[in-house]
C-alpha cells in the first residue's frame, strides 16, 4: 500500500521556520477527515511545545498566527477564560493550556506515545512538568521581567533547574531512549534560557553544576523534527529585547 504523509501548515509572516505550502512526507491511507487548527504566536515557547507534539505525531494541522497585541475574535471565542494562545481546535472543539493540549494530542493520536504506559511513570512525568512550569519557567520569567531582582530570581531558577536535572536519571532524554512528554514540555529552556541570559546578564543553565541538563538540551534541540520548528535565534533575541523593555518599564 502506498504510504505518504501530507502535512499542511499555513502561516502568516514571522514564523520563518514554517513555510507556506505543502510538505510531503508520509500519508496514512484511509485516514478519517479531521480538522486540526493551532492558534499560536511565533515567539511563544508554549505554542512551540504544541507544534512539537503535533509534528512528532505526524498530525496534519493548520497553523494560525495571532497578532497578540490585537487578539482576534476567534481567539477570544475559543479561549474566553484566559484569552491566550496556544489553542488547539480539533473538529471545532477548542482546547487551551499547552500541557493539557499535549496530553490530549497523546490520547487521540496513539502513534509515537509521549507519556509512558505505567501509571507511576506517568505520575512522575506529570509531577516534573508541573514542577518545571511552576518553579523553573516562572522564576526565569521573573528574572526576565523584574527590574532589580534579576540575580535573586536567577539564583532560584538555577537551583530549581538543578533539581529538574535529577529527573534525567542517566537517560538520554527525560522520556528514556526517546523524546517524551517532559522533554517536549521543558525543551524550549535550551533556547529561551540563553536569550534571557544574554538580555538580562544572568546565569541560568550553569555548565559546572548542570552538565547533564546541558547535554540533554543539546541532544534534544538537534532532533530534526524539533530543530525544524525552532524560530531563528536572531529574530527571537530581537523580539525578546523589545519584550524585556516593555516588561521592565511596566514594573518600575
Amino acid at each position: 500500500m502506498m504510504r505518504r504523509r501530507v502535512e499542511i501548515v499555513c502561516s502568516h509572516a514571522y514564523y520563518s521556520c514554517i513555510k507556506i505550502g505543502i510538505y510531503t512526507t508520509w500519508w496514512k491511507a484511509g485516514m478519517a477527515e479531521e480538522s486540526v487548527k493551532l492558534l499560536g504566536y511565533w515567539a511563544s515557547p508554549f505554542a512551540l511545545r504544541v507544534h512539537w507534539a503535533l509534528k512528532l505525531k505526524g498530525v496534519l494541522y493548520e497553523y494560525m498566527e495571532e497578532d497578540l497585541p490585537n487578539k482576534s475574535t476567534l481567539l477570544l471565542r475559543y479561549n474566553p477564560v484566559h484569552k491566550k494562545i496556544p489553542v488547539l481546535v480539533h473538529n471545532d472543539k477548542p482546547l487551551a493550556e499547552s500541557l493539557l493540549i499535549i496530553e490530549y494530542i497523546d490520547e487521540v493520536w496513539k502513534q509515537n506515545p509521549l507519556l509512558p504506559d505505567d501509571p507511576y511513570e506517568r505520575a512522575k512525568a506529570r509531577f516534573w512538568v508541573k514542577f518545571f512550569d511552576e518553579k523553573c519557567a516562572s522564576e526565569i520569567m521573573a528574572a526576565f521581567s523584574s527590574k532589580g531582582k534579576e540575580q535573586e530570581k536567577a539564583a532560584i531558577a538555577r537551583e530549581n533547574l538543578k533539581t529538574l536535572e535529577s529527573a534525567l536519571q542517566g537517560k538520554p532524554f527525560f522520556g528514556g531512549e526517546t523524546i517524551g512528554f517532559l522533554d517536549i514540555a521543558v525543551g524550549w529552556i535550551g533556547i529561551w534560557a540563553r536569550i534571557v541570559e544574554e538580555i538580562v546578564d544572568v546565569n541560568l543553565i550553569d555548565a559546572e553544576t548542570m552538565p547533564l541538563l546541558i547535554d540533554w538540551s543539546k541532544k534534544f534541540l538537534e532532533v530534526p523534527i524539533i530543530k525544524a520548528s525552532i524560530p531563528p535565534w536572531d529574530k527571537l533575541l530581537e523580539h525578546n529585547k523589545g519584550f524585556h523593555k516593555i516588561l521592565t518599564v511596566a514594573s518600575t
Binding site: 493550556e97 493539557l100 501509571p119
Partner: protein, 232 residues
C-alpha cells in the same frame, strides 16, 4: 503494578488538597491509612516523602511516592482502573475536566486565599471579587459538563467534582468571615444543588470537615502566622 500493596496518605483533615486523594480512594473502595500531619509543623516523614515541595498530600503506594493532589487522583484512577472511573473516558471531556481543575487551583483557590488572608481590606475585597467572577465561570462549566446530571462528572462523582468540591468547607468559612453569600440560588443555582449532592456523597461526607472546626483552624493558623512574622 500490585494494586494490593498498602496505601497510605500523608495529609491533614483540614486541608482541601489532602481531601482529594481520600475521596478518590473511597470512590474506588480502596483501603488506606491516614498519616495525619499537625498544623504548623511538618514531620520528618513528610519532609522525606516530599523533599521538593515539603507539602501534603503524599500518596504512598507500596514503595511508590506520588505528590501533588490532582496528579495523585489521576494516578488512583489509572491504577484502580476497573472500579467507577473518576476521569471521563472521552479525551476531550477529560481535557475539559482538567482545564477547569487547573482553573480552580491557579485562579479560584488563590482568590479565596486573598479574600481571607490578603493584607488590608482592599486586597480582601479584590480577592472576593475574583472569587465571585470565578464562581460565575464555574457555574457555566457545571451546566455544560453535567448536562443536567447532579455532578460535573455526570451521574457519578468525577475529577472536577473532587477538584472543586474539596474547597466547599473553606468557601463556607469565607462566607461567614466576610458575611456574604458566594453560592447563591440566584447567581449560582447549579452549584448550590451540586454542593449539596457533593457533600452528601458517601465518598465525601466522612472527610468533609465541619465549618466551625475550620474556623478554629483558621484562627490557629492566623496566630501562628502572626507569631512567625518579623518584628516591625
Amino acid at each position: 503494578m500490585a494494586k494490593s500493596e498498602a496505601v497510605k496518605v500523608v495529609g491533614a483533615w483540614s486541608s482541601p488538597f489532602a481531601m482529594r486523594p481520600l475521596i478518590a480512594l473511597k470512590i474506588k473502595s480502596v483501603e488506606y491509612e491516614c498519616l495525619e500531619e499537625e498544623i504548623g509543623c511538618k514531620s520528618k516523614f513528610l519532609l522525606k516523602s516530599n523533599p521538593i515541595h515539603k507539602k501534603i498530600p503524599v500518596l504512598i503506594h507500596g514503595d511508590k511516592l506520588v505528590c501533588e493532589s490532582l496528579i495523585i487522583v489521576e494516578y488512583i484512577d489509572e491504577v484502580w482502573s476497573s472500579a467507577p472511573s473518576i476521569l471521563p473516558s472521552d479525551p476531550y471531556d477529560r481535557a475539559i475536566a482538567k482545564f477547569w481543575a487547573a482553573f480552580v487551583d491557579d485562579k479560584f483557590y488563590p482568590s479565596m486565599k486573598e479574600s481571607n488572608t490578603g493584607v488590608g481590606e482592599e486586597a480582601k475585597k479584590a480577592g472576593l471579587e475574583k472569587m465571585v467572577d470565578g464562581l460565575a465561570l464555574l457555574e457555566d462549566a457545571y451546566v455544560k459538563c453535567s448536562k443536567g446530571k447532579p455532578f460535573f462528572g455526570g451521574n457519578q462523582l468525577g475529577y472536577l467534582d473532587i477538584a472543586l468540591g474539596c474547597f466547599l468547607g473553606w468557601l463556607r468559612v469565607t462566607e461567614k468571615s466576610l458575611q456574604t453569600k458566594l453560592l447563591d440560588e440566584a447567581k449560582t443555582p447549579g452549584l448550590v444543588n451540586w454542593a449539596e449532592s457533593f457533600c452528601a456523597h458517601p465518598a465525601v461526607k466522612d472527610v468533609m470537615p465541619q465549618t466551625d472546626q475550620l474556623i478554629e483552624v483558621s484562627k490557629t493558623v492566623a496566630k501562628l502566622r502572626a507569631a512567625s512574622a518579623p518584628p516591625k
